[in-house]
Amino acid sequence: MATSTTAPDADRREPRAGSPARGPARRPRGPRRSLLPYLLLAPAVVLELAIHVIPMVVGVWMSLLELTQFHIRDWSTAPFIGLENYRATLDLNSAAGKELLHSFWVTLAYSLLSVGFAWLLGISAAVVLQRPFRGRAILRALFLTPYALPVYAAVITWSFLLQRDTGLVNHVLVDQLGLMNERPFWLIGDNSFWSLLVVSVWRNWPFAFLCLMAGLQNVPGELYEAAAIDGAGFWRRLRSVTLPMLRPVNLVLLLVLFLWTFNDFNTPFVLFGGSAPEQADLISIHIYRSSFKTWDFGSGSAMSVALLLFLLVVSAVYLLITNRRRDDHA
């Protein structure tokens, strides 16, 4: 995110700071002028502090306390135990540590596959809808609908589709196509992972589509004309014009999608009705369930903080690598 937000700032700063017309008009308001932006920002800053920054700091503090069910009513009585929560939850030889590690691998596989497929569908749709034709506007609206639906409405519908005895999926696979003799379960067991993945792709790919569509609008048509004159076919134009031009969008889009799916709670929570089978036990659900099942908020916070640290490291490495590669090309 950092690169995308600071880069436009830098562009904007120059003409404005140097604009001679503005300076004199504003100067008489000396002291007010310097305070005003902070007053304007104050509500946003207070809210961000209250709901995001302070809870985060409190969360780190909680992860250092023995904040179990005995102390949850009055957390001032919870004893300070240092890194004990981290040691207990991240100890890969313990049962809790093994479950967390399992959940981590499931989440990683889920995020990578979900982002990959969402991007693939998004780019396909954006490219084939690039040139105008009859019905394009309708298709575009249709493709955006899964993203516009409230997540619970979308996921509940999918859980109906995936019911073993009354769902569409088994009706088509077993009754109409006869591909299987047994009606498989989709929401428990090994299949639950793939169900979760399909639902997540269905819901997320329109966001990729939206961003890539916005990105394609900035690709000058002359580039395609020039490529076509040079005899470039469809795949060549895609590889040499479209994808390089979309690089800045892709950099941000892939990271954002990855972070969202890695933190995904809604899809498994609604799809599996509050609990997830072990094969689809995403990390957010895992922390949520272990925190509220045992009311051990101390170790829940420790796992959340570890999750945040992991994502910060991944984001930092990602931004570092992509930035370096950009410098190499320049």
């Binding site: 932006p37 619970y152 916005a214």
Partner: protein
């Protein structure tokens, strides 16, 4: 540049597959909402054996859907309006002023959007409960608590998108207003906001959608009295029956307003993304 036959067929195939993938669940939602109960209790059918609007009537009494709906409407509307009001001032500051901490503010606010929700959930839960016990301010299990929480969820993206919109409004307009003696706030309300109406509307809809669809905090921070649709809609499965037809009817009803709003304004979301992300 002409399209080859191969490209045309490729396009048709890709579009057909994508359209089917998207449409099938939507089709099931709409048709199942018009099915009698026995249709959804036995094997799946593509079409209702006897189309009926009864699920749309029954869904209000199986669960207290009206209460959930009112809660969601109240919480989402207030959160959206407050969020946009706060975002307008913040975006005005970021777009029109140079000040110390501007870059830090933008990056910090946007990065909170990427953090795991579960990280805020446990501390916020404890803070709300303990604040209630200590001072009597009811934030846990109240609509106020939800409003405050939700309005911060949409704030980062709202600010970001509005900064893009405000930046696209020529500064010459500001200066003309100032020459006429308008102060900064009058400039904001009489010059910038009227020119940014589509952006403000789009951001309001986005903030409303964010609150309308939130599940994680709703599942923990509400009780029976303050429950929103996000949690309430899961109440249609009883011990004896799962009223899939009513669930689909209720899902349809709660989806239509946000889907219509989003699709009507999609142009402005694309414009906002283009202005912000691509640069």
């Amino acid at each position: 540049m002409r399209e080859t036959a191969g490209e045309r067929w490729g396009r048709r195939i890709v579009l057909t597959l994508l359209a089917l993938f998207v449409v099938i669940p939507l089709y099931v939602m709409v048709t199942s909402a018009a099915k009698p109960l026995q249709d959804v209790q036995n094997g799946f059918t593509w079409w209702p054996s006897r189309p009926t609007l009864q699920p749309f009537v029954d869904m209000w009494s199986t669960v207290p859907l009206a209460r959930y709906l009112v809660n969601s409407l109240v919480v989402s509307s207030i959160a959206a309006v407050c969020s946009v009001a706060v975002a307008i001032f913040a975006a005005f500051a970021v777009s029109r002023y140079r000040f110390r901490g501007r870059g830090v503010f933008t990056v910090t606010v946007l990065s909170t959007q990427m953090f795991p929700g579960i990280l805020f959930l446990l501390p916020l839960f404890l803070i709300y409960v303990n604040l209630g016990n200590a001072t009597g301010i009811e934030l846990y299990a109240s609509r106020t608590g939800l409003v405050i929480t939700y309005l911060t969820f949409s704030l980062p993206f709202s600010i970001w998108m509005l900064v893009g919109y405000f930046d696209s409004i020529p500064r010459g307009l500001d200066e003309a207003a100032q020459v006429d003696g308008a102060g900064p706030l009058r400039t904001l309300f009489q010059v910038i906001l009227p020119a940014a109406v589509p952006g403000v509307v789009a951001v309001t809809v986005y903030a409303f959608m964010t609150a309308w669809g939130e599940v994680l905090f709703a599942s923990v921070m509400t009780d029976e009295g303050s429950r929103t649709l996000a949690v309430g809609l899961q109440g249609y499965s009883t011990q004896f029956n799962v009223y899939w037809n009513q669930i689909m009817a209720a899902s349809l009803v709660v989806s239509i307003p946000v889907v219509v709003g989003f699709l009507a304004l999609q142009r402005y979301f694309v414009a906002g993304l283009t202005a912000g992300a691509v640069k």
